[in-house]
């Protein structure tokens, strides 16, 4: 199976029982890295990210048969991944009985605990700054800044208007810059 197989071709192969597993594996290979990093930036911890990524693809496996091609596959995948991340964060909060602020400081502590962490480097400051953002702004910023997702696609992922997403990205970028300048 060639690497350049389009999503439409992969979905057609997935619908054939004989090629179902191979097509799904190709979809996993094609999107695993993008989804992993999207999840990892949200959750920081690799093990948590690995678990959530597996859950995402299990959901995809179960629901791909009913996927309607009126949306792009990668938009749909991002939507599942984002929802899984938010659900995971919610579960963590409930499990540990902590507030959102405590959870965010916990994520910041995880970043600081990374053996590669260097408080003077811009990329680490940026990660700390991202964790200070509210959840929705965090997702918007990462989808735009790292994944370069168009607002129209993002509005399908997050079910929010493109205008609101632009405003959200603007606020998020401003907050991050301010955080970096003050730390």
């Amino acid at each position: 199976m060639a690497e350049q197989t389009t999503d439409t071709e992969l979905l057609a192969l997935y619908r054939e029982p004989a090629t179902r597993e191979k097509a799904f594996t190709e979809i996993v290979k094609k999107y695993q890295q993008r989804l992993y990093w999207h999840i990892r930036r949200m959750l920081v911890d690799h093990e948590d990210s690995n678990d959530v990524l597996q859950n995402v693809f299990i959901r995809v496996w179960n629901a791909l048969g009913g996927f309607r091609e009126d949306a792009q596959l990668y938009t749909w995948l991002y939507r599942i991944a984002t929802n899984e991340c938010l659900t995971f964060i919610e579960q963590q909060k409930r499990k540990a009985s902590v507030s959102l602020n405590e959870l965010e400081s916990g994520l910041s502590n995880k970043i600081k605990a990374d053996k590669e962490f260097d408080a003077n480097k811009l990329e680490w400051k940026l990660q700390l700054a991202i964790q200070q953002l509210p959840e929705k702004q965090r997702v918007v910023f990462m989808l735009r800044y790292y994944d370069e997702m168009p607002y129209e696609e993002m509005s399908r992922v997050l079910e929010t208007s493109a205008g609101a997403l632009k405003a959200s990205y603007h606020h998020a970028a401003k907050k991050i810059e301010e955080f970096i300048l003050n730390h």
Binding site: Q33, I58, L126, Y169
Partner: protein, 245 residues
């Protein structure tokens, strides 16, 4: 990683610091080979979670236990039949003898599953399962619910008996209760005859009894004590107690 012009222009307008040197490098690391192995691990989990007939699932269900552990971890496979625990020498050889000596096995009894099927004891219907036992007078059927009833009844009777015993025993051993049968005259005669003087005090805890000595008894008691010693002792006595001659 390079941004598209659209993203770059946008971020430079909003936050020049973030757009100055392009997108920040990703600082996170992950285990080596993670993405190479991920699809396989994922498919393994999917076929574990769902009972659908995946090819990989068939491979897993067909594989034998020893073969499975060899494929997962040859190191663990090598350790599979090694145990760190020890048993006394000849333990398993003497097992049959120990069991028969303990009287657990009856002569001619067979412990095969056919002879001893698992049954619900609480149902109390073993006699229905073994009608031949029901008919024969030798073998009594163990009825758990009946035994339970008798046990409860026995416990209640024992508890009542113990309570009554305690009540009776307490009334006999109490000395005050015992004196209720003695008449006042008998009591007065007893006290006069034995020269015992009982002086009730202010409260029941300070009640005292004294014994009266005759003059001869006192002389006999103090025969070994010199007059000087007695004179030294007298001033230490309280005044209201009187003196000894």
């Amino acid at each position: 990683m390079e941004w598209s012009n659209e993203i770059l222009t946008e971020i430079q307008e909003i936050a020049p610091l973030l757009g100055k040197s392009g997108p920040a490098r990703n600082p996170y690391t992950l285990p080596v080979g993670f993405f190479e192995n991920f699809p396989e691990i994922l498919m393994l989990r999917i076929c574990m979670d769902s009972a659908e007939g995946l090819e990989i699932g068939k491979k897993i269900t067909d594989i034998s236990s020893p073969q499975e552990i060899i494929e997962i971890s040859p190191l663990l496979a090598g350790l599979q039949h090694k145990t760190t625990y020890q048993v006394p020498e000849g333990y398993f050889e003497s097992m049959n003898t120990m069991i028969s000596d303990s009287g657990m096995l009856y002569e001619n009894a067979s412990l095969t599953p056919e002879f001893a099927p698992v049954v619900q004891i609480s149902s109390g219907k073993i006699a229905n399962i073994y009608p031949e036992l029901k008919d024969s007078g030798k073998n009594k059927v163990f009825n758990f619910s009946r035994v339970l009833k008798y046990s409860v009844a026995a416990c209640v009777i024992a508890l009542l008996g113990l309570t009554l015993f305690n009540l009776n025993h307490r009334s006999i051993t109490d000395p005050i209760n015992g004196l209720t049968t003695v008449s006042d005259q008998d009591m007065a005669n007893y006290l006069d005859a034995d020269d015992i003087h009982w002086t009730p005090g202010v409260s029941s805890t300070s009640e005292t009894a004294s014994v009266e000595f005759s003059d001869n008894d006192i002389h006999e008691l103090f025969s070994n004590v010199s007059d000087d010693e007695l004179e030294q002792y007298v001033p230490s006595l309280p005044l209201n107690k009187g003196s000894v001659n």
